[in-house]
């Protein structure tokens, strides 16, 4: 059994009276590619946001490389409103900001591309290296960190080479075609030197050929950078081709988990996607 990288434990996210993610339990092991699928509005992106610290879960915990990084329990108004399970199981509050989680080795992309618009392709990737910078402000101003800066620039060049964006490195990020912008987002996430990469719908808006290329690309970077990958995706071809395991969410609840073959034949999953016939 390989090492456990990410464990989401009884995570519940409730907005007002709406339970977006309900008692989610999920595990990802070293080197795996795990997909989180489900119909629109099932709570997939919310689960991502909880994992990366953008939202604080209402209840539950998240473990990363064997260490508890996030924990919360219903407080204040939520005490009365809380509709989820395991109330009282958690007592501590551990709520790091997203940047702290990224520094631990978790990096993500966004469903609606969020590149830095005024910056070049090269700078978009270079800025993501900032969180690994050791130089202080004064040494950065007076260029005493020249060696580190040079090394980072070199690494960015190499990274752009790997993802195939080296020829457009001086273009503005937003001037790239859509598919390349998605690739750039992945390159940017890689620059933060993660061990776990979270991809939020990396193939959204891509045509079948681009999707195939992306499928191969995700496999490549997993091997090259020794990554564990957690992804949300609607393109079933991509999901079934590269995932080691799949989790299925519906209305915030986990309804199935298993290998691609198991998921394809799971009745609850089929019902969730296609709806249940009245007379069946």
């Amino acid at each position: 059994m390989s090492k456990n990288v990410l464990r989401i434990e009884n995570a519940t996210m409730q907005f007002g009276g709406v339970v977006a993610v309900d008692n989610l339990n999920l595990e990802i092991n070293q080197g795996e590619i795990v997909a989180l699928i489900g119909p629109n509005g099932a709570g997939k992106t919310t689960a991502f946001n909880v994992t990366t610290g953008v939202y604080q879960p209402t209840n539950g915990a998240v473990w990363f490389n064997g260490e508890k990084i996030i924990e919360n329990h219903p407080q204040g108004k939520m005490k009365k409103l809380y509709k989820g399970e395991n109330d009282g199981k958690y007592t501590h509050v551990l709520a790091p900001t997203p940047d702290k989680i990224t520094k631990l080795g978790m990096a993500r992309t966004f469903q609606n591309i969020r590149l830095w618009k005024s910056q070049t392709v090269f700078n978009n990737v270079l800025i993501a290296k900032h969180c690994r910078t050791t130089a202080g402000v004064a040494s950065a101003i007076f260029r005493l960190n020249r060696r580190e800066e040079e090394r980072q620039r070199q690494e960015v060049l190499e990274l752009l080479e790997v993802v195939g964006l080296a020829d457009v490195k001086d273009e503005l990020a937003t001037s790239l075609p859509y598919g390349k912008q998605r690739r750039l987002e992945i390159a940017r996430a890689l620059a933060a030197e993660p061990t776990l990469l979270l991809l939020d719908e990396p193939a959204a808006g891509m045509n079948p050929q681009e999707t195939d290329e992306l499928t191969a690309f995700i496999g490549e970077i997993r091997d090259k950078f020794n990554l564990t990958i957690f992804l949300i995706e609607h393109h079933m071809n991509l999901v079934m081709n590269i995932s080691d395991r799949i989790y299925v969410l519906d209305f915030g609840k986990l309804i199935a988990e298993g290998t691609p073959a198991e998921i394809q034949n799971n009745k609850r999953v089929i019902d969730a996607y296609l709806g249940v016939a009245e007379d069946a």
Binding site: W116, A140, R143
Partner: protein
């Protein structure tokens, strides 16, 4: 020769020409000449505008507290630099004031008159900057959590609070209450202003092009993405705020030097607005633009367009129209036109070296066309 090298030479050449020009002005004109005073004032405004641009243009934090930080710098300079012998006269309502030393005199004691008092004045300016930076550090935590316009109004309010404190009679032994601070020394030559402000602006440019400056721009472009990529938002915003305030403080000290007197009243929100509009005219996100706009603004409002206020302009004599206030009215119309129709300002987000690139691209295209 690579493009980068060309750009460096071009930039250095332009800066050198400007420096020589100001030295020539200093050598040929008396120090009270309008050209020299304009150079001084424009340089001070350039520094403050650039410091504001660092925050508003490069980090995307819409702060309107600049006047408050300038006020701190100005007072620190005045209080620390008034000669001991003149304190009794300046602080006549407060028994000569609480502080009975003067930095330029202390340093003159062991470094000689000329060098010593210059060092003392520089130290006083730096203390003013540090005071402003410390104040920024204190208020950053609550204030920087606020978004765009709330941040603007909170910093504006903070500057007003500072102003009230400096006019408070109980602090009179230090601030002289609502009375003027005066009789402190100042730099005589325009070139001194240019060198000092130039060095400050150079540091800001170095900062903006460093890894921290890139992080600031990432925060401006997309805060959520910046945080997700490991940039600590509160730390970096505070950093930008503190650094910007430091330079605003130094700028305030230099403004005090230029004016010759200090009172809290002129450091009102109108001063911040004036500087903000200079930043907008120059281009939000362009250091070169801010400097250029400061010079244009000060030279035309203080000197070139003065005829608009005093009856005769460009040889046209119309005292009925060209009367007191017409200059500023014309000015504000121009500003509105820029705000509405030329939103990028003079420079957009381009800098001095970029001017060369555009021309190069054009000529390359022309060459390719042939």
């Amino acid at each position: 020769m690579t493009l980068k090298k060309k750009q460096t030479i071009f930039t250095a050449a332009v800066l050198l020409v400007l420096l020589l020009a100001s030295m020539a002005l200093d050598a040929t004109l008396p120090s009270y000449h309008i050209a020299i005073t304009c150079v001084k004032k424009a340089t001070v405004y350039a520094l403050v505008a650039v410091s504001m641009n660092l925050l508003n243009g490069f980090t995307g934090l819409f702060s309107l507290g600049q006047a408050g930080f300038m006020l701190l710098g100005a007072y620190a300079y005045g209080v620390l630099c008034i000669p001991v012998a003149k304190r009794a006269g300046v602080y006549q309502y407060f028994d000569g004031g609480l502080i009975q030393f003067s930095l330029p005199e202390i340093f003159a004691g062991f470094l000689g008159d000329t060098i010593g008092s210059t060092v003392g004045m520089l130290v006083a300016l730096a203390i003013g900057g540090l005071l402003a930076a410390a104040m920024a550090y204190l208020i950053a935590l609550p204030v920087l959590r606020l978004k765009s316009d709330y941040l603007a109004i909170a910093t504006l309010g903070f500057a007003e609070i500072l102003k009230a404190f400096f006019q408070w009679n109980a602090l009179g032994p230090i601030t002289n209450g609502s009375n003027l601070l005066k009789s402190y020394p100042s730099f005589e030559k325009g070139t001194s202003y240019i060198l000092l402000a130039g060095a400050m602006i150079a540091i800001i440019v170095l900062l903006i092009n460093s890894t921290y400056g890139r992080a600031f721009k990432a925060i401006r472009d997309d805060e959520v993405a910046a945080e997700a990529m490991g940039i600590n938002l509160s730390k970096h915003k505070r950093l930008a705020f503190v650094i910007s305030s430091f330079f605003a403080g130094v700028g305030g000290g230099m403004l005090a030097m230029y004016n010759g007197t200090i009172a809290a009243a002129p450091f009102k929100s109108a001063l911040t607005y004036e500087i903000l509009l200079i930043v907008v005219i120059g281009g939000i996100g362009s250091i070169t633009g801010s400097v250029l706009a400061s010079f244009l603004y000060i030279f035309s409002s203080e000197w070139l367009l003065r005829g608009l206020d005093s009856g005769t302009f460009l040889g046209i004599n119309a005292p009925g129209i060209f009367k007191n206030g017409f200059r500023m009215a014309v000015f504000s119309v121009i500003i509105m036109i820029i705000v509405l129709f030329f939103r990028k300002g003079i420079m957009g987000d381009r800098e001095l070296p970029d001017l060369l690139v555009r021309r190069n691209k054009k000529s390359r295209k022309e060459a390719a066309g042939k």
